[in-house]
């Protein structure tokens, strides 16, 4: 069984946010207006988080780091343990999945998640006509009152598996990548089976630059970051 994971190379990432919009388009995230945004109610499954180290002198690294932050799909997720209705679970392939019809909107999971990547639907999703025509048929729309989050675009895995089985072959490495990985212009994101040593993600995850966010919490995230490099390294 695969263990799906992602590697984000901060040395390639330019902070362009193509991944952010690709994610919203792919997953039928409704557009928010300025009011919802001001109240912190705009939904984004993937966002760039600025880490600001303050002022620095000439000749040193800029203190600003922009870190793309999707759901980390932890191997030991804190969110699933607090759900009273089993609406969020980690499955054998490593996805931390959200079952929208079960979710009662209590938001314990959004509080428990140390990465703050879970989003609550404060309102009924709306697309002013004719915008609903662009919605993808591959992903369901979440109703008001439930929590949603990054799925690693697992609907793409469903389609890729379907295709592979019909063609009577194994799933290949490039058959399934999430929308963010596919669009990244700097090729800063990689995706695949972390347990298969031949994949690009597994190779990159072994890099000396590899680290994970809030590692000391013991959540065992499956999103692995590569730090910025040194000149000549």
């Amino acid at each position: 069984m695969a263990r799906w994971g992602m590697v984000i190379d901060l040395d390639r990432c330019t902070g362009c946010q193509a991944c952010v919009v690709a994610c919203q388009v792919e997953n039928n995230v409704p557009p928010a207006g300025s009011r919802d945004a001001a109240r912190g109610r705009a939904i984004s499954w993937l966002r760039l988080v600025p880490l600001d180290g303050g002022r620095e002198g000439h000749g040193t690294r800029p203190a600003l780091r922009l870190v793309p932050l999707p759901c980390q799909h932890c191997d030991l997720p804190p969110c699933t343990r607090v759900c009273p209705v089993f609406a969020t679970q980690k499955d054998e392939e490593g996805f931390v999945a959200q079952v929208y019809p079960r979710c009662i909107g209590c938001r314990y999971c959004t509080t428990a998640c140390p990465y703050t990547v879970r989003e609550f639907n404060w309102r009924r999703p709306e697309w002013p006509a004719p915008m609903e025509r662009s919605l993808s048929p591959d992903v369901s729309v979440r109703p008001r009152g439930v929590v949603e989050k990054c799925t690693f675009c697992h609907h793409r895995l469903q389609l890729a598996r379907d295709q592979a089985r019909v063609e009577g072959r194994q799933l290949r490495e490039q058959d399934y990548v999430p929308a963010c990985v596919q669009t990244c212009p700097a090729d800063a994101m990689a995706f695949g089976d972390l347990d298969d040593p031949r994949t690009t993600v597994a190779r990159l995850a072994r890099s000396p630059r590899a680290f994970r966010l809030l590692e000391d919490l013991g959540t065992e995230p499956k999103v692995i970051y590569l730090s910025k490099g040194e000149w000549g390294a």
Binding site: T14, C16, A18, V21, P50, R61, M131, A186, D187, W231
Partner: protein, 790 residues
């Protein structure tokens, strides 16, 4: 608001109630998911269509997933050399533009006062073209074709603006005015140094050391996806060879955040810094001496073509840009300047990039010339990792322009004075606005705006707004009515790029000639919109036979076939293909063979449409006769111009206004789309409003706290913005993003934020006459919140 417990109580009640209500069998699972889902699944056959994104001039090849009559997903076309299968956030948001609820329903005619969308009423295309065509025919018959003015914007390189411009020339007007583009200053610098009229193309992926002089290399660059892909290669694409990026700017931009080093200079001194580096390189003798001796003129004193003595750059550097002078002017310690000079001269392939900040902000020519000096000194001219020059694609010439009234009109002086008065400029839109307003040297009787919104996105928005109202017939070709369209007499809805066939030529900054092809993804447009190119073909037929003869195509497809047949006849290049195909074509062409993979024009047509287009990936480095067309045949260093560093700002207590263009709203477009409004700046997590970055020390002096509303006031105008206190900008400056503050633009843009272009002083770049976007000084004070904000 409901407390959590009450909410749970409600939910429990609802669950019990639902059970009573008789859906226990179906279960809450299905109830919740289906009762609220707005998805009506698309029906019909599924297909993939290749197109070209035109949300910026980059022209990325895209693949569109279409189900029935709906476009549901846009991805990069993996075979396309610009996108390489990737897209930027603008491209990803393109379907929001296609299905935008505020696109014009059809042609709109103004019946009430200007400036208000409710003054417009629907008309048919036949009425619109009949009325506009009749008026244009009348002006031409009256012998005043020059009174018709065309303003084109900085959009894509598709057929719309090309056909519009040809139409205007054939009609008989010289007043073909392009709004300034971000590449203008860099292109003028290349013209002065190498005698070539083109935007420079940077071979970033082969460079080892990049010195960015305030450039927006990793933001709204000419072709952002192309540049960002190259950057990824520059960083991590070559084993054991990681490029270094040093960024020089008074503000820690998104590009600076990716750099290995941010060097904060005083406002307006990027070029001075570069010349300080150049002085150190020359002073220490670190420059590429064989290259400079063979290919560079002007380092030593010489005479120009007229026999006048010109100071050599060496003496200018030694006199004007000594280390301690540059240190004092830029605020950068001398040892940092020296270190950068030594690194730049020794790093392998080094590349300096001038301060192009976005599609609207070209940077000062002085700074671009200074970057050019550094490139010349290390031989980064037409070399791998250096500055390249793209060849135009070999498209066929179009039929000759008519004589008679048309030729006489074209011979009249241009209203904007570009050419005779401003020899380095092809267009001078701000002067055009003044001329229209004053009615001199002659009156403008019709104004056609194609992808252009000068009443919002130009160096003089207010002047343009006033000028537009002086013209009796103003026609705006736009999709979502913008600020200028609201002032027009007619709004002719332009089709979205997914609704039309198109042909795009090489975008600025890409070193290969290429022709990208688009097929319509939707057979029927979402609104009653038409391709701008086809509207001009139709107008030509309606106005006069000689005009129709100059534009003889019945529709876009006929024009596309003309172009592709000419391309076939050029006998070079190949259809777009995989990396393997590309390497094969390069190898063959390098050896002097042509291996196109197509024989007949029909075969080229089919295969180019299947892959995304045609290109010629072979770059012949060191073809000096092509890339050095100066009088000397060498790269010319202009010590005479570089002696004139911009004056240091007065110590007047005012702040320097630093403008920048966030990629999502660059070029004055993008704010219309909610996904882009939501991601304006990740560094400040800014969205849906105009913010102003101020150094905490400056803010303390002014009594401003973080997130206060402040008034930013120049001698010309003032705007209100949200203060963001940050050490990512130098003291004595205030940095404000360009792209918000529209009147038009639909529900998500109108009334959001403020337009800092209104603040600009009417200053000109003294070396070339472009607007000087860096010369404005502003005062800042706390203010009341703008209307409608919390």
């Amino acid at each position: 608001m409901l407390s959590r417990r009450r909410f749970l109580g409600f939910t429990a009640g609802a669950a019990a109630g639902a059970a009573l209500g008789g859906v226990a069998g179906a279960g809450l699972r299905t109830l919740f998911a289906s009762a609220e889902s707005p998805i009506v699944p698309p029906r019909g056959p599924e297909r993939v269509v290749l197109s070209v994104c035109d949300l910026c001039p980059g022209g990325c090849g895209v693949r569109v997933r279409v189900i029935g009559d709906r476009a549901v997903r846009l991805e990069g076309n993996p075979l396309h050399p610009v996108s390489g299968g990737r897209l930027c956030p603008r491209g990803q948001a393109a379907l929001q533009a296609l299905y935008h609820p505020d696109r014009a329903e059809g042609p709109l005619r103004r019946r009430g006062p200007r400036g208000d969308l409710s003054s417009f009423e629907r008309a048919t295309w036949d009425e619109a073209l009949g009325e506009i065509g009749a008026r244009l025919a009348e002006i031409r018959a009256g012998g005043r074709p020059e009174a018709v003015v065309l303003v084109t914007g900085g959009g894509g390189a598709g057929l719309g603006p090309r056909v519009a411009r040809r139409f205007l020339s054939a009609y008989g007007s010289p007043n073909d005015v392009a709004l300034h583009r971000g590449d203008d200053a860099a292109a003028i610098a290349l013209l002065l140094a190498q005698g070539v009229r083109a935007a420079p193309a940077l071979d970033l992926q082969s460079a080892d050391y990049v010195l960015s002089l305030g450039s927006a290399l990793l933001e709204a660059w000419s072709a952002p996806v192309h540049a960002t892909r190259a950057y990824g290669e520059f960083r991590r694409g070559r084993t054991g060879r990681r490029g270094k990026l040093v960024h020089v700017e008074p503000r820690l931009s998104i590009t600076a955040a990716s750099a290995d080093e941010w060097i904060a200079v005083r406002p307006g001194t990027e070029g001075v810094f570069a010349l300080g580096v150049a002085a150190a390189i020359v002073g220490e003798g670190l420059h590429a001496k064989p290259f400079v001796a063979e290919r560079v003129a002007g380092l030593e004193e010489d005479r120009d073509a007229a026999g006048r003595t010109r100071p050599g750059l060496r003496s200018v550097l030694a006199r004007r840009y000594r280390l301690e002078q540059v240190e004092a002017e830029t605020g950068v310690p001398g040892d940092v300047i020296l270190r950068v000079a030594r690194e730049f001269a020794s790093a392998g392939a080094s590349l300096a990039i001038g301060p192009r900040k976005g599609p609207l902000l070209p940077g000062r020519l002085f700074d671009h010339l200074a970057a050019g000096v550094l490139n010349a000194l290390v031989g980064a001219v037409d070399a791998p990792g250096g500055v390249l020059v793209a060849d135009d694609p070999p498209l066929p010439p179009w039929p000759a322009l008519p004589g008679g009234v048309s030729a006489a009109g074209r011979a009249r002086p241009k209203l904007d004075g570009a050419g005779p008065d401003q020899p380095l400029l092809a267009s001078d839109p701000e002067r055009l606005a003044e001329a229209i307003r004053a009615g001199t040297p002659y009156r403008a009787e019709a104004l056609l705006l194609v992808d252009a919104d000068p009443a919002f996105a130009s160096a003089a928005p207010e002047t343009f707004a006033a000028a537009v109202q002086k013209v009796p017939l103003v026609v705006s070709f736009t999709a979502i009515p913008d600020d200028t369209a609201l002032l027009a007499d007619w709004i002719l809805p332009a089709s979205h790029f997914l609704e039309r066939a198109d042909l795009h030529t090489t975008p600025a900054g890409v070193p290969y000639p290429l022709v990208s092809l688009a097929r319509p993804a939707l057979l029927r447009p979402v609104r009653d919109a038409r391709p701008t190119a086809e509207v001009f073909l139709e107008l030509a037929r309606r106005i006069a036979p000689d005009l129709a003869a100059a534009l003889p195509w019945k529709d876009l497809d006929a024009l596309l076939r003309w172009e592709m047949e000419g391309l076939h006849a050029a006998r070079r290049g190949a259809v777009m293909g995989t990396a393997f195909d590309e390497a094969f074509v390069r190898m063959m062409e390098g050896a002097g063979w042509w291996a196109p993979g197509y024989r007949t024009p029909a075969e080229l047509w089919t295969r180019a449409h299947e892959s995304g287009g045609w290109w010629d990936p072979f770059y012949d480095h060191g073809d000096w006769r092509r890339v050095l067309r100066t009088a000397s045949g060498k790269v010319e260093l202009r010590g005479d111009l570089l002696d004139l560093a911009p004056a240091a700002p007065e110590r007047d207590g005012a702040l320097a206004l630093l403008l920048f263009e966030p990629l999502p709203i660059a070029g004055g477009t993008g704010a219309e789309l909610p996904f882009l409004q939501a991601i304006l700046d990740p560094g400040h997590e800014a969205h849906w409003e105009t913010w102003a970055e101020i150094h905490p020390e400056t803010a303390a002096r002014l009594g401003v706290s973080d997130r206060d509303w402040i008034r930013v006031e120049s001698p010309r105008s003032s705007i209100v913005a949200r203060a963001r206190l940050t050490a990512r900008v130098v003291p004595d400056a205030v940095a404000v993003p360009v792209g918000l503050g529209k009147r038009g633009g639909g529900r998500w843009a109108s009334g959001i934020g403020a337009n800092p272009l209104r603040l600009l002083a009417p200053a000109r770049d003294p070396l070339c006459g472009l607007p000087d976007f860096g010369a404005t000084r502003v005062r800042v004070a706390r203010a009341r919140p703008p209307d409608g904000s919390a």
